[in-house]
C-alpha cells in the first residue's frame, strides 16, 4: 500500500503545481491579493506531497520491497542500509524524484522566507517555479513512474551497480541537484522579472543569495564527482572531459558568470538584460546536465535517449522551458531600462570581459559535448579542450585577480597593477621554487603554476590592500580585517580556492610518479620523498554483499611506520562485477595511492603505486571556493540589507 500512497502523493503534487503555476500568475496580472497568496500554500503543500512520495520510495528501499520495479532493479536485501537509502536516487526514476523534491524545497523556501518580496514578484516567481514542477512531475508520472509494481515480485533484487556503492558517489547526486535545481531560482526570478518588466538592484539582491547557494552546492557536487573518479577508476586521473562531467561543468561556468554579472546589477544597476539571459542559460544548461547525468552511471552520451519516448519528452520540456523564457526575453528585454554607464577600464569592464570569456569557454564545452551527438563521425577529446577551453580560461584567471582591485565606473589600470607588484614578485618566486624543487619542467606547467600562484597571491593582496596591511599599525589592520564585509572575504576565499585548485591540477598533471611492481610478501618498495611501502601479502574476506581480496601494506616514512594501506579487489556476485578499491594516504603535500592488481602464477601480486603531489588540494581548493560562497552568503547585506534598501529603491524607481 505504501508505494501506492507515494504514487497518489505524486499525482497530488502535480495538481498542486498546476494551481501554483496558474492562479498566482493570473492574480498578479489582475492585482488580486487572494489569488497571488494562493502560491504560498500551494508551494508548501507541494513540498509536503513530494516529501511523502520520496519517503514512500525510501521506505520501499529500506524494507526491500521487491514488488516495486525500481527497487528490484537497483537494490538487494544484503546491501548495507546506507546504500539502500542512497540507492533511492541511484537510478533514473528515483533521481528524478529527488530532483522535484529539491525543486519543491526551493519553492517552499521562497514561499516561507520571501516575506520581503513585493507581492507580484513573489507570486510570479512561485508561479514559474510551479511550471517547472508541472513539467517534471508530468515527466515522472507519465514516463518514469518510480512506483511501478512487479507481479509476481522477484525473491531478491538485482543490486545497485557496485560502482555506485560508494560514499563519494552516494552524495554526489544530491549536491549536484542542489546546484542544478538551485539555479531554477535564478531562472524563476529572471522570468518573473521579464513578466514584471523591471530589473533593479533590489531584484539582483534577491537573486544573488539563491545563485550563490546553488553555485556553492554545485562546486561541491562537481568536486565530489571528480574525487570519485580519482579513487574509483584506479590510476588517479581526476577529469576526463566526459560528457557527464562536462554536463556539470557547463552550468557551473555559466553560473559563475551569472554570479558576477548579478553583482554588477546589484552594485551598478547595469548589465540587466545580460544577467537575465545568463540566468535562463544557466538553468537551461542545468537541465541539459540533469538529462545527460540522469542515469547516474552511464558515463557517455549514450544515456541521452536510450528510450526515445523519454528522450523526446525531455527535449520538449527543455524546449518549452528555455524556449518560452527566450521568447519572453526577446519581447521584454529590449524594454528594460539601461542602467549605469562605465568606462572599459573599470570593475564592470573587467567583469564583462570575464563574463564573455567564461561564456565562450562554456560554448566550447557545449559544442564538444553535444557535437558527437549530431555528427557521429567526429570524436572530441582532451586535445580539443586543451586547444579551446584552456586558452580561454587563462585570461579569465589573469583578469580575475585585477578586477576586485579596480574601482567601479572608471579605474586606472597602471595604479591597480602597481598595487599588485608584490603578488607579481611572489608569483615569480613560486615559479622559481617549483623550478628548483622539480629541477625544471615543461614550460606549460610553469606557466600554470604562475597562474595559480597569481590568483592566490592576488586574493591575498586584495585583503591586504583593504586592511592597509603594513601601512598602518598591525592592530588597526586586524580590526579592519574583522570589520571587512563577509562578502569581501568570500570573494577572496573563492578566488584563492580556484588558485589552489589550479596549482594542484598542474602539479598532479605534470609531476606525478608511478611505480608498477610485482611484489611477494615481505618486499619493500622505495617511493619518493622518503616514503616506502612494505607488502605483507593478501588475505581473502567478504563484506555484506561482496567477496574481497584485501592487500596488507605498511607505509613507511624515513623508516618509521606511518599507516596501514589496504587496497582491495572486490567481487559483487549478484551484479557479477569486480571493483577495485584503492588505498590512499593523503597528506598536505600529496597522495600516496596504491591499487592492488592480479595474483601472478608464482604467487607474487602486481601493485600499482603512485605519488600525486598536491592532488588533495584540487578538492581542497573546490571546498575553499564553496566556503567563500557560503561566507559571502552570510554577509549582512544579503541577510538584512535587502528589505530596507529594496523599499528605498522601489520608491526611487517610482519617483
Amino acid at each position: 500500500m505504501i508505494p501506492e500512497f507515494g504514487h497518489y502523493a505524486l499525482v497530488l503534487a502535480l495538481l498542486l503545481a498546476l494551481v501554483q503555476s496558474t492562479l498566482p500568475l493570473w492574480g498578479a496580472a489582475r492585482r488580486h491579493p487572494g489569488m497571488m497568496a494562493a502560491a504560498e500554500p500551494a508551494a508548501t503543500l507541494q513540498l509536503a506531497a513530494i516529501a511523502i512520495a520520496f519517503a514512500a520510495l525510501t521506505w520501499a528501499y529500506v524494507v526491500s520491497d521487491f514488488s516495486v520495479a525500481v527497487v528490484a532493479g537497483n537494490s538487494h536485501s544484503l546491501k548495507p542500509l546506507l546504500y539502500k537509502v542512497t540507492g533511492v536516487w541511484g537510478n533514473h526514476e528515483g533521481s528524478m524524484l529527488l530532483w522535484v523534491l529539491i525543486l519543491a524545497v526551493f519553492g517552499a523556501a521562497v514561499a516561507l522566507f520571501g516575506g520581503n518580496l513585493p507581492a507580484t514578484l513573489k507570486a510570479r516567481v512561485l508561479a514559474v517555479q510551479g511550471m517547472i514542477g508541472v513539467g517534471f512531475l508530468a515527466f515522472i508520472i507519465l514516463t518514469s513512474n518510480p512506483f511501478l509494481r512487479l507481479d509476481p515480485a522477484p525473491i531478491d533484487g538485482r543490486d545497485l551497480n557496485p560502482l555506485l556503492q560508494d560514499p563519494g558517489l552516494a552524495f554526489h547526486p544530491p549536491f549536484l541537484y542542489l546546484g542544478y535545481v538551485g539555479f531554477s531560482m535564478a531562472f524563476s526570478f529572471a522570468v518573473a522579472a521579464l513578466i514584471e518588466g523591471r530589473v533593479d538592484p533590489a531584484w539582483a539582491r534577491w537573486v544573488r543569495p539563491w545563485t550563490l547557494a546553488a553555485w556553492a552546492f554545485l562546486t561541491v557536487g562537481v568536486a565530489l564527482g571528480s574525487y570519485w573518479a580519482y579513487y574509483e577508476l584506479g590510476w588517479g586521473g581526476w577529469w576526463f572531459w566526459d560528457p557527464v562531467e562536462n554536463a556539470s561543468l557547463m552550468p557551473w561556468l555559466s553560473g559563475t558568470a551569472l554570479l558576477h554579472s548579478a553583482l554588477v546589477v546589484e552594485k551598478r544597476d547595469a548589465l540587466k538584460s545580460w544577467t537575465i539571459l545568463l540566468a535562463i542559460l544557466t538553468f537551461g544548461l542545468s537541465l541539459v546536465g540533469t538529462f545527460l547525468v540522469r542515469s547516474g552511471i552511464i558515463t557517455s552520451v549514450h544515456a541521452f535517449a536510450v528510450d526515445p519516448e523519454r528522450g523526446v519528452f525531455i527535449l520538449l520540456l527543455l524546449a518549452i522551458t528555455v524556449g518560452g523564457a527566450f521568447t519572453l526575453y526577446a519581447i521584454r528585454a529590449p524594454r528594460l531600462k539601461l542602467g549605469g554607464v562605465f568606462a572599459p577600464i573599470s570593475r564592470e569592464g573587467a567583469l564583462v570581459l570575464n563574463n564573455l570569456l567564461i561564456c565562450t569557454a562554456t560554448v566550447t564545452v557545449f559544442i564538444g559535448t553535444l557535437y558527437p551527438l549530431l555528427d557521429k563521425t567526429v570524436s572530441v577529446g582532451k586535445p580539443y579542450y586543451q586547444l579551446t577551453f584552456v586558452p580561454l580560461m587563462a585570461p579569465v584567471v589573469a583578469v580575475m585577480v585585477i578586477a576586485p582591485l579596480m574601482a567601479w565606473k572608471r579605474s586606472d589600470l597602471p595604479g591597480v597593477l602597481g598595487r599588485l607588484k608584490f603578488a607579481a614578485a611572489g608569483t615569480v618566486l613560486v615559479v622559481l621554487a617549483a623550478l628548483w624543487l622539480q629541477g625544471g619542467g615543461p614550460v606549460l606547467a610553469l606557466l600554470g603554476i604562475a597562474f595559480g600562484a597569481w590568483v592566490v597571491l592576488g586574493a591575498a593582496t586584495e585583503i591586504a590592500e583593504r586592511v592597509r596591511l603594513f601601512r598602518i599599525p598591525l592592530r588597526d589592520s586586524l580590526s579592519r580585517a574583522a570589520g571587512l564585509p563577509r562578502s569581501a572575504w568570500g570573494t577572496a576565499f573563492a578566488h584563492a580556492g580556484l588558485g589552489v585548485a589550479l596549482l594542484s591540477m598542474i602539479a598532479s598533471s605534470y609531476w606525478s610518479t608511478e611505480w608498477l611492481v610485482l611484489a611477494k610478501p615481505g618486499d619493500r618498495i622505495e617511493l619518493v620523498a622518503g616514503y616506502a611501502v612494505e607488502f605483507d601479502g593478501v588475505t581473502a574476506g567478504h563484506g555484506p554483499n561482496y567477496q574481497t581480496s584485501l592487500g596488507d601494506l605498511k607505509l613507511l616514512h624515513d623508516g618509521t611506520f606511518v599507516t596501514d594501506l589496504a587496497p582491495e579487489k572486490r567481487f559483487y556476485p549478484v551484479a557479477q562485477m569486480p571493483t577495485s578499491e584503492v588505498a590512499i594516504h593523503t597528506t598536505l603535500a600529496g597522495d600516496i595511492y596504491v591499487a592492488l592488481g592480479e595474483e601472478q602464477a608464482d604467487g607474487r601480486w602486481s601493485l600499482r603505486l603512485y605519488h600525486h603531489p598536491l592532488v588533495p588540494w584540487i578538492w581542497g581548493g573546490a571546498l575553499i571556493m564553496a566556503f567563500g560562497g557560503v561566507l559571502s552568503l552570510s554577509d549582512r547585506r544579503l541577510r538584512v540589507g535587502a528589505p530596507r534598501r529594496a523599499a528605498a529603491s522601489a520608491m526611487g524607481s517610482q519617483a
Binding site: W235, I297, T299, S300, H302, P308, G323, S379, L516, G597
Partner: protein, 178 residues
Amino acid sequence: MHRLLFLLPLVLLAALAVGIGTKLLSGSDPQALPSALIDKPLPEFSLAPLPGRSDGLASTDFGGTPMLLNVFASWCVACLAEHPVITRLGRDDGIPVVAINYKDKPENALAWLKRNGDPYRRIGADVDGRTAIDLGVYGVPETFVIDKAGRIRYRHPGPLTPDIVDREIRPLLAELAK
C-alpha cells in the same frame, strides 16, 4: 538591429532543438548504426598492439567465424561496468572477442586489463581514435558483431548488459554461425 539581438538566443535554441529533434525522431533510435555501415565490410584499418604484446588488430583479422568487436578504454566507467559481461562471453562461452583500445594511454590500458582481466583474443591500440571514427564510434564502450565474411552486422553503443546479450547478441551469433 538592437531588437533582433534579443531574438538571437531564441533563434539559436530553435536551431539546436530542430537539429537534435530531427536526429531523435528521424532514426527514432539514436543507437542505430549509420545505415551506410550496416552489412558493409569493416573499413580497412590496421592497429598496432599494446606495447609488449604481439597481436594488434587489423580489418584482415576478421572473417571465417563470427566475432565480437568491443571498443573500450581504461578511463571509461561504463566499460568497467560491462567488462564482466564481455569476459563471460569471451572466456566462458568461447566467443572470439577482439577489442579496439580507444584513445588510451597504452600503459593504463595494460594495467586496466591486468586488474580487471583480459578476455580479448587481439587488441588494437587506437591511440588517436582515427579507426574509431571510421567505424562511427562516438563514445565508449561500443560493441559490434562481425560476420564470417567480415561484414558489420550489429552495433550496440553503450555498455552491454546480460539482458542485451541474451536477447540480441546470442541469437544473432547463433544465426551467423550457421
